[in-house]
Symmetry: D2
Subunit: 355 residues, 4 copies
């Protein structure tokens, strides 16, 4: 364990700081012979990149991925796929004012204590910029998975939430609004809220719901490497995530067994899907769905009290370009991590030759 590799059979290792030369990664264990659509990979990156709409940060980062290995004549070779994303617009000067300051609810303080020193520019390694690498790996995983579909959308921002079950939503609406909410009317309200919060120099949290369809029965390796346990690790491992729940989740804690149990039908599927498609840590053939909790962005455009490296009280100034709400940009990250887990577990169960 050294912290920067995720997955076992399909595994991604990432590197790179927010304002270093480049970020990048290595994808190992990708099955051979898969025709990759690299334009589709870039498209996923574009869904995560800054400046894509008015409600996200206006920083300019090209986020162009360059593949260095593992692909030959358009197909994966089964050897590791190395890639980099150059940091073209890294105004590290922008961060001089926080060089010796520990920002509240950021990782500055813990990185300094853990490692002794840190690259403070833009959050360094703890910056969410690193997740671009996960999006690259996830986009490839999605393509390998083929018929499985993995769809995430913003299901709440602050108090505004989608109340309809996902089965009643039209996923085609997700990319039609800047919030990436599957309900267009709710999306409008969310957009409005984000704009208000932004105007105040504040930020706001929310939830993302992820739905995985077309999953075969049998994915997941109990008793520890359960499908839901791996998904939970993947989700909590995303910057700003503070919770995850599968199926009815916390709501199930208030229910009786007679209400919650899912009756099994003659075709092996279940009448209800309160479990969210995973039983005993193994997929049961129903849709997998789970909800991920994001805290509000730690960076504010307001002054805050904190300390510096000399343990003196200082005022952290609110300046720079940041997201008042990270959720719209986090949607492709949730999908990416879900795809990595699903492919990892798929190869574990079926082998890498069965793609």
């Amino acid at each position: 364990m050294a912290g920067n590799t995720f997955g076992n059979r399909f595994r991604v290792t990432t590197f790179g700081e927010s304002h270093g030369d480049a970020i990048g990664g290595v994808i190992d264990g990708c099955p051979a012979g898969i025709e990759l659509d690299l334009v589709a990979v870039q498209r996923e990156l574009d869904r995560r990149k800054p400046g894509q709409s008015k409600i996200v940060t206006q920083r300019k980062e090209a986020d162009e991925v360059r593949f260095l290995s593992g692909i030959f004549e358009g197909k994966t070779t089964g050897t590791p796929i190395g890639f980099i994303i150059e940091n073209t617009n890294s105004k590290s000067k922008d961060y001089d004012h926080i060089k010796d300051i520990y920002r509240p609810s950021h990782a500055d303080y813990v990185y300094d204590k853990k490692y002794g020193h840190r690259d403070h520019r833009g959050g360094g390694r703890s910056s969410a910029r690193e997740t671009a690498c996960r999006v690259v790996a996830g986009a490839i995983a999605k393509q390998v998975l083929g018929k499985l579909s993995i769809t995430a959308f913003v299901s709440s921002v602050g108090e505004i939430k989608v109340t309809a079950p996902y089965t009643e939503l039209d996923f085609n609406e997700i990319e039609n609004n800047p919030v990436r909410c599957a309900d267009p009317l709710i999306a409008k309200q969310m957009e409005q809220l984000i704009k208000e919060v932004k105007k105040d120099g504040d930020s706001i949290g929310g939830t993302i719901t992820c739905v995985i369809q077309g999953v075969p029965v049998g994915l997941g390796e109990p008793v520890f490497d359960r499908l839901d346990a791996e998904l939970a690790k993947a989700m909590i491992g995303i910057n700003a995530v503070k919770g995850v729940e599968f199926g009815l989740g916390f709501e199930a804690t208030r229910m009786k067994g007679s209400e919650h149990n899912d009756e099994i039908l003659p075709n092996g599927l279940t009448k209800t899907n309160n479990a969210g498609g995973i039983v005993g840590g193994i997929s049961n053939g129903m849709d997998i769905y789970f909800r991920v909790a994001f805290k509000p962005t730690a960076t504010l455009m307001k002054d805050q009290l904190s300390i510096n490296t000399q343990n003196e009280v200082v005022t952290v100034q609110g300046k720079g370009r940041h997201d008042a709400c990270v959720l719209p940009r986090a949607v492709p990250i949730v999908e990416a991590m879900a795809a990595i887990v699903m492919l990892d577990m798929y190869i574990e169960q079926y082998g890498k030759l069965k793609m």
Copy 2:
């Protein structure tokens, strides 16, 4: 990855089916030279065992652990600690009526589909009986961790919940009531609810809150093996768990950054602890706290519809001896898994010689 090992530096591998000869495990990576209190280990097992009070299952299982290696003259030797718990009261006849039946919301169906056949007796490998092995490993981890304290308690059963923050609770109350709730008045109500549900042949869910105190700054290995991500995997990996949230968790999704951010004080601690002691995946020296969601027990004392191995609709009879609410017995399991994660991360950061 083969599923039955948890941890990297301090790692536990478990084996055993509910009604096989024995369950057991191997603890590898335990630091050498630690004096172990084996009576305390057995005490933790007793907190998990059936028949301990009127509100849990009345099955009789001795759950006596026998250590086979890795301990010499009362101290750990640094070599693997092997242990077994014989299954003394395994009435497998009790399970003949479910031999060919897939019980609703149990893992019968997915195990059969994944592995081709299964030991159906008492749930076989998917039985929560396996968690006794985790409790053994966790009890040892707790002792190695020394000054760190790890305390879990039942914080809700159905709609009845502890409303006071954990800081206002007296943890000494936890073992004073059969529910293992830290609030004695709420405990009474929970006990009453469990009894009613039991009388109806039904079951009920709930939540367990876990608090870890005395944690040094710096535990956790970003970007993937974050402390919270590992804890999340550990918790979701417990039978019947459907969700986990750290600090304010889902509540944080409804907050603004200006409300949620934790101001850092000159001593490095934070004024509030909305983050729950983990920032950027690394412990920040504050108390770690998180909440775990348990669905209601799948086994009911009521008849339910399901299918058999021939895909025919059948009635699953409600009989046997089961828990109407698993939470009181799950408290030591949550603590055990938390202890395993904390020790694993502690060794990762400080090495195995620093105990």
Copy 3:
């Protein structure tokens, strides 16, 4: 990494000290639905056990394996196979004279320095007794592998060696002589040498050759987890092993490329097999063969100088019951570790469902 687990997809974890209560292990990742011949497993253990012939140690150890889980109705269930071998004849009194002594070329000294204290009885964890657990796992791996055949034999003892290539030997002879040499005439000479050495209270080294036949093309995971690299780790990990060579091995270092290269024939096989069946870390469909070097047993029936735990010079007395030559008993260990590696790599390449 905690040291006591071998393998990734098919993995064995062992525990136990020479004179503790029991040794044992957990086999995780064994494919489900395999009918196991447990008598054949015990037969492999009997090939390793003490007292089986006049040229090995006359200690009496029953070495009876008891399986605790993972097997139901005669077939593997895909869940972990736990097993123990009780230590029935552990005369730890026999070892009181070495309690405070570091025996030459034994691991006593390094264990004490590494772990701070150790179970000194019979070598404790560093005893070759632990390899019985590997034999159990290997015997199961052999059965899962089915058509692959893995055959080891003693190819030299001291200066006496088999000169014929393995292709000219009759492997049926191996179990017909106590040395486990595939050449019956050479076996006689080896037996004679071992008896002489034993009479002198001395010990002698030797080599074991292992041949794996029926291997499909494509096993091995370059660039690091090559088939030969994994076999090398497995072999050097056996007690007393000091070297390993694949194909022509060290002899190849004295050759020219035009002599050494193996011409590829239209059927994909090679005219010669100087490479020993592995090219670029991947099996090429030819027989795999390699040779393992065992140093002479460290325990002598002669007095030797060494030091005690107070760093004082002492005489280590030569007494007890030991092997003058470990090679006959090491043959099943070499086969077992080879089988574990081959199955691990087989599952990696073909998946666990293809057995």
Copy 4:
């Protein structure tokens, strides 16, 4: 396991094909706060690069490493160190004649069978060019290890070998001759032999001896992850390596225990060092030394028979620029892999904070 990561605590993941855009890697788990001498890293790469002397291949490759992350203000940050080496002089046209041909004793055939298709240019992933990435990681490991010294030299080429024990050699001579032999007179003979072999269009094998000095007692994680077992895996994982032996190695197989045992002295060191510094898989404080066997280079400047992808017999033409003897360039690779193993084991034992 996906094959392209080596190490556990200090781990390197490599990517890249011989004639792709770039090769590179990620070093994860490097302790923080280490001042790195990047010029020294490049110097190690230069010892491996083509064209450095008349006896190695005359291909021109700049092999300039570019670090992308993990280093800030000259010091390691504890975060992953990403790096790339661009492939500047990749004349892939040179390889058109082998596009559909499986060269004898190369990995062409097995890669095609394993992965279904391959990047044939210059050997693709199976090219020794990949080892440049290992040299980068090893050069960093060496610097972190500080006082430990790791020295490799060519100890034989064909029949010509260094006969003096390493303790009588002057390691300063190694870089004074193009063969990298520690004995200048033997070096001359080796150089002459390599030139003759080259003139014939042939190639020649040899051995490299590696000596590690200043090793503390206690490195190595038995029973499987022994120090020698990990070194063996590392060495056999180097292209063209067919054998490895520790201490006296195969010579020990011909010895008696009374000759081979190393008497322990009052200072804990041993009178002789036949074991090569590792006992029971753990370093004992003596020099570690081992010998690595390299087969002759597979590529010849002579015509050879083989088959093409249509299984037809073809003549493989001898053309291009290749090494008649890889050993001089392999010396830094052996050192690099040894350094990676030593640091990995060092962190495992002492933790990452004790550097």
